[in-house]
Symmetry: C2
Subunit: 343 residues, 2 copies
DNA sequence: ATTAGCTGCTAATACGCATTAGCAGTCAAG
DNA sequence: CTTGACTGCTAATGCGTATTAGCAGCTAAT
């Protein structure tokens, strides 16, 4: 049986012989207001509600209150398609968890442009549907970020972001110190000639790794090889590595590390026997590699959780939102060993 | 404080020097009405909208009209937490893809109760915020399903569901025939004594597997062992298996299969050398097992896609929604071989 | 006897948008 | 110069609820 029409408070009111306002008050009036409605009336209304099975329309409810307890989640790349899924899932995990605790629903903005061309401020921009919004993705559009910052719409970025016409509220991972710690670890193991395979920027995530690395140099540590390109042929990298005399290589990209490791093994070299390798960041579901690389952990779930909490604070308390960098704990791994004295 | 005031059509109207009604008409007026607004005015309004990033409040929209281009996604378990992530992600992939194509956003309903106690009809019943809703999860609440079916709110279940006071619109996987095909395959390889390790129901997903299996018996095929419990000790299962004389074992749970395989290997037995094993369904990211089990594929992405499409049809055309079972193609694997003549 | 205060309500309004009726103004035909 | 059609808009209303202001009737105190 299809319900003919949704019951409204008006209907209830009529049936109970009171006004719509009274029904609303009985339903969820403040204690002070409720005190002025005698028990008898309240019960009469409740009774009608019970027998009719009336439920307040949540839409109208939110209409009246102004907030909708929805958090938007904008991803610069489609969130689920396989390649990205592993990247976004941990963040979403934390976000969902915290949203549930705070009693918010999540609105996944499917983005206007399909594929790589997603824009927040695209024609259909539905961002403002939600009370506030989380923004994540590998590559941010600087112009959009500036616009967001200058606006009064509450948002929080996941991942550190450089000022964009003002400080960007974010929760990120402290890649710089994570990297620094790994360099120190290498130093402690007697390494002095280092190689760095990865770009220096401009994305914040890679820039931070480089700055952490660069800042830890000196004092006996020397960068003897810097390959800025990513995705070079493994053998090429390996040759450069061996030729440079480096005893440890720092990789920004796990993929590069995996390929170089394979190439080295093919030549009968062992890691960390012949040289050490360090990967700057945890990467979920690596390409099938049985090697556990020494690296640092990126607390993605926690980032999602804290970003969500910060966003809720912004929404509910008008908080300005801060900038949080979460510690990236080192991952022991098995690819960083004592420096080998080269012959 | 409260959330920042959103822009309203009134604001836009003021900025563009027109009335609120005109803004609304420009945004989504009927062609006949639009025809009466000159290009020049329309562009002026559009321009203001673009520069301000205004977006209509879906709540108000829904209030006035009833639709807001949002699809709800209700999961009976939190969607992302690790254990579930692998289960839900493929569905979400398909859902997001199709939603984007159809130009809908996704509202992830976080569920009122935390943890296992999720209910659709919990206090605020936020379901109705969205135009319609997809429901997924391993375990459905029958009472809620009945209520959904009897109501007039458009929804589509992912996974086959038994009638609940009426037919449930769904898109599911055809586990029965997927299972049947595997049994036939075993028959063709000379197997005649089968074992079945897994519960017979009542969940539709397991019931379907059993019915497919059971329906394929007879005609030379005999069930010689049926262990209904899941998670039994591997050795126990293995003993029963060997004692029963079965030449092939059908597992509902991959986990069971993995453990039994390990136990068998520990005893020097090989699969499919000594006996064959079949798993009823594809399982993403299995517990580290290097064995590729013979099984069938569950087209999760496609299920998500088609369910979303069906839901949109229900919403937009008042379609009643149907019941679709997608074919589960067999996965070759390496654990089903010719029946071994037992000594 | 006036006032103050309390009780038991209701009227009115806001929320943001969609939609309809219709108002002025122009222009062409009669 | 009247009529009618058309143009370019706007005022007004409704959607279902929350909330505030306040009204009428009564009692108790001054």
């Amino acid at each position: 049986m299809a319900a003919p029409k949704r019951l409204t408070q008006h209907d209830i009111a009529k049936l109970a012989g009171v006004s719509q306002a009274t029904v609303s008050l009985v339903l969820n009036g403040a204690p002070t207001a409720l005190a002025r409605i005698p028990q008898e009336t309240r019960e009469r209304v409740q009774q009608v509600i019970r027998t009719t099975g009336y439920v307040a329309d949540p839409i109208a409810r939110r209409m009246a209150k102004g907030l909708n307890r929805i958090l938007g989640v904008f991803t610069y790349e489609p969130a689920f398609p396989s390649a990205q899924a592993d990247f976004f899932t941990p963040f979403l995990l934390g976000i969902e968890e915290e949203a549930q605790i705070q009693n918010y629903d999540l609105l996944l903005l499917t983005g206007a442009g399909v594929g790589q061309d997603r824009k927040i401020f695209a024609d259909g921009n539905r961002l403002r549907i939600a009370d506030g919004c989380l923004v994540l993705g590998r590559e941010f559009d600087r112009a959009e970020l500036t616009r967001l910052v200058s606006g009064d719409y509450p948002f929080v970025a996941i991942g550190r972001r450089e000022d964009a016409g003002g400080p960007v509220p974010y929760v990120g991972g402290d890649y710089a110190n994570g990297t620094r710690a790994l360099v120190e670890k290498a130093r402690a193991l007697g390494h002095s000639k280092l190689a760095y395979i990865g770009p220096p920027g401009p994305a914040e995530s890679t820039a931070d790794r480089w700055s952490g690395f660069d800042g830890a140099l000196g004092n006996g540590l020397k960068l003897v090889l810097h390959i800025e390109a990513v995705g070079r042929a493994a053998d090429e990298i390996l040759d450069a590595l061996l030729g440079s005399g480096a005893t440890v290589a720092f990789f920004v990209e796990l993929a590069d590390a995996v390929r170089v490791e394979a190439a080295a093994r093919a030549r009968g070299l062992s890691i960390p026997g012949d040289f050490s390798a360090v990967v700057l960041g945890s990467h979920i579901r690596a390409e099938r590699s049985h090697v556990q690389f020494t690296s640092f952990d990126i607390p993605r779930e926690e980032m999602g959780r804290q970003a969500t909490a910060m966003l809720v604070r912004r929404i509910e308390s008008g908080d300005a939102g801060g900038q949080i960098l979460l510690t990236c704990e080192p991952v022991e791994g098995e690819t960083l060993g004592p420096a080998k004295r080269r012959t």
